[in-house]
Amino acid sequence: MSSNMRMGCDIGGTFTDFVVFDEDTGTLRVEKCLTTPRDPSDGVMEGVRLLDEDAPGFLTQTGQVFHGTTLVINAVLERRGAKTALLTTEGFRDVLAIGTERRYDLYDLQQQYPEPLVPRRLRLGVNERIRSDGKVIRELDQAQIKKLAAELKSEDVESVAICLLHSYTNPQHEQQLRVMFEEALPGVNISLSSEVLPEINEYTRTSTTVVNAYCKPLMTSYLTSLKERMNDNGLAGQLLVMLSSGGVTSIDTASRNPVRLIESGPVGGVILAQHVKALCGMKDAFAFDMGGTTAKICIMEGDTLPRTSVYEVARTQRFKVGSGLPIKVPCVDLLEIGTGGGSIAGINDLELLQVGPRSAGSEPGPACYGLGGENPTVTDADLVLGYLDPNFFLGGEMKLDVDAAQAAIEAKVGQPLGLDVARAAFGIHDSANESMAAATRMYAAERGVDPTELALVASGGAGPVHCYGLAAKLGVREIIIPVAVGVGSALGFLVAPISYDLVRTHKVPLPDADLSEVESLFRGLEADARGVMKEAGQTKEPEFVRSLDVRYVGQGYEINVVLPRGAVDSQGMSALAELFQATYEELFGRSFEGNAFEIVNLRIIASGPIPPSPIVPRAGTGSDYRKTARQAWCPIADGYVEHRVYDRYSVPTGLTLEGPAIFEERESTVVVGSGATAWVDEQGLLRIRLPEEGVTP
């Protein structure tokens, strides 16, 4: 049996999305079904059943299934994880609860913080001590460990996180504890901080290790059961899991390191955008995804996905940094903004318009859904402005109530500000774009990027409606909208190579670094990564990229510098020094000549080959691409003007159309402003070029 098919499957908050790509025929099939929160694998199997009706036995021909899931993040949010214990160095069991001691809001006297995932009675101190240079100054106490093990046994603990001080530099005690606890508590999952996050800073390391331990049993049983059910349905190929880093790994590795799956879903959209950008021969671009409650922005420079490692989960105030549980894992550098189609518009204490971050969600939803929502939302504004067709929302499956949208905008925004309904609606639309633009500018400034030089790749339900206004504000000249934007994440999974990241703290001043020691540490990391890649079915030697986090001695900010290929030598190191100074100067406008600098972390990324693209050339059918025309708001004309409406999949390749226009497909609507041009290219991508002048009023 050939295995020429690949499937992407993304479990989102509301829908589970599927894409099946047949490499031989180039066909792409798309399916969507409702997510089943109690056991998400039910929803997955329902989708498989629907796809199977269409193409019986397709799973037997599927070589790889790529799976993305929000299970980890939901387990933490809904507190559905395992009964977990934490072992720390004695005297430090409350580090997890004490946190940073800083308030996330200066003035709010009522602020709340999330409860730690491990209750205090299950946080136990171990009598031992390792110094910052890695030297053991108190040995483990066998008798005490026996007592601790008995205690955990009587509590029926399912998972144990072990985080000892300075274990990032000497993991010996953590490893010994694992052996002892595995023996004393058979069947219990164990997570070591020296494996999950071997980096300095005990609070972040403990918090990350605890999230990992908390989700491990759940993730292991979910993935094992999903694999069995897939196999029962004929899957002979592999089940692989998406990582927050944009990499792909085996279910064994994923089960051991569930904390690395925290952004497993959203990352697919960025991978797709990265791929689309490359297809268009562009170097740098924004990925912009806007859904019901949030928008996500990512700046993609060059060939690799931008990485970060700082993340917060279960915030008590969704958009307040510091109100959640910190985790530090390799993660695509996504900016989340509290603006979506469901964001509520109203008047704040300063008597100014405010859009979001409160959201109407799906129930009651925007006023135009007719489900009892009385607050005007961004979607209501988009409808009143004529950008959305009340009779063609989700391909006409859901009728929208224009009168209800108008009434809500009139009452809550128009009257208080003394604006007519249309201007109030445009105010909401524009304010949503402005908050996204402001956040994007800040994010771009932090990375030293000029937004006007980048193209924008848009996706998500509301993304295509807002991308034009956002691009105009940012000074972006070109917008690209890929096919099947409604299932963008699942499609993105199919273009990701198998890959895995590892990091290890090794703090040493650069001039004194023992290069052979650095080399052997790198080799150790590579050997570990090789094992992980083998589990994921990679028989060929992976490609390794080595890099170092370097900083000035004493400064808090580290710069990641990629090392030249080959073994670490003195020549490579002096090149590294120059590169570090140059990168620093580029970021901050100056460097500190004469200041010593040091290595902080060693990092490697191992990756396999890039799979064939599921975005294959397709021609528009050409026939009846002109649908109708409708009145929609034009900010330049400061009034409603006629917009031609096109069926996005029927537009012939290469035909250039002029704005103002609207392109419709089942899951989204693309708005093109006056003066812009748009065409569908040979890849089936919709391209929009903004005019040089006069984009904003």
Binding site: L353, R441, F588
Partner: protein, 554 residues
Amino acid sequence: MSQTFDALTLERAWSRLKSIADEADASVMRTAFSSIIRDSHDYSCAFYDARGYLMSQPGFVTPGLLGGMTAAIRAINDYFPFQSLVEGDVIITNDPWLVCGHLPDVMVAAPVFHHGKLVAFAACVFHHQDIGGRLGVDNREIFEEGLQIPPSMLCRAGQFNEDLIGVMSANSRMPELLVNDIRSQVNTVQFTGSRIRAFLDEFGWDSLEPIADAIFERTEVALRKSIEEIPDGVYRSEYPIETGDGDRTVLVKLALTVDGGSVTADFEGSDPQIDRGINCVLNFTIAYCLFALKSVTAPFLPNNHGSTKPFTVKAPEGSIVNAKRPAAVIARNTVGHFIPSLVYEALAEVVPEKVIAESGSLPTWWLTLAGTRHDGRPFMVGPMFSGGIGARSSSDGVSCLTFPANVNNTPVELLESDSPLIVERREYLQDSGGAGRYRGGLGQEFALRVPDDDMAPDGPVVEFLTAGRFSTVAKGVSGGGEGSLASAILNGEPITWGKSFLLNAGDRISYRTAGGGGYGAPGERDRELVAEELREGLISAEAAFDLYGLKSHG
């Protein structure tokens, strides 16, 4: 009066201005060197219009630094008249009476020019690790406390004053940290300036004043409306604050007059300044008074020039809350951080639901440990840590949280990397939170040891602590119990915070911060919660049964 803007333009411009302040804040995290900046986040950035009025502050500031800086910007005019400033000028000062009340807080400020015209001021204050001087609260005069920098030109038209840098460097125990952090401050104000120019270009405006006035006016109107919800009247409180010198306390008295949409805070009757480094300058008193009033009346309104207008603060000259030169001021937080407590206590009788019980976390503990490593390298670390905040009207006080300042603690692993010291404990203190329907936040034990092995330091380690609540507990509200007292124990013997100690190899010192006061009677606390906290070890069996009246082992 002010130019009118349409509501949409105003909203758009305002959201842009707010993000400039946050961008400035983020840039510091990348360029600063010292642990007190990068780990503790003890710094504040802000920018001002051409008149020196506060436009916007980032999400993360500490009230004392922000308030002091805001006063200092206007004062620059007396030293360097605004019209004499030119592009590329950068001003520096740490004058406690002009800025933030003690010498380690150094302000760097720059006029921002756009098409040759002064349009704004960008400024930041960093709390530097060391500005020289004697490490002790028992200083008698400012002259013992380190280098004083009157308002001076750090850069004149883009030319760095290297002589001044040399003087600063020569006066610090950690000269490289000081100089690098000062340069990072210059980076920050220059970056802020470039963002302000880009903003004006984009909107096609030539000054900030019209938009500033429109925002100030709306802020002021909204704030006055919130103040009007408090019944008119005069509300009083007083508090004896410990001095770190035996049983000696200083009394601070407050009378708050609420009159329609205005509040006057008067500290008349407070004790005179004293011959110890706990004196508070007027700027610091005003800053914490305004912070507290805003947190009660309108916590979610932006903070700008408009939000200061409804408030007037008066304090008799020469008093402990308006000390005159040459008072010693290094530990002014040990008095100034109590001011919010006085404000809440005064308002508790009229708006009990809006205030919190007294906090064990004030003042913020600032510990300095300095010495020489075994290999001759100097070290100096400045960890900060806190007790528990007071319980709220509908929830428990948060344990170990800075209040009213806002800084991070220092991770143990970083502290041990930057010094030879060994931290032995950072843990909640059982029963430290005041009992109540809502419990006060818990304090913590933070214990450390000077090693006596191969890492033993060369010579003694100087210990210098600014702290409080060693003799005055955090009281509860509406029947809530009091939090535990703070203490420090050196090799088993209680010590006081007001005096510096020399620690030797093998010495062990343990610090116990105070708990917050409770809210409401303990008998009204949810029984299941009492039983749960007993199981968790947050309260003892005696507390559960005697204080809370728990009947059985739930």
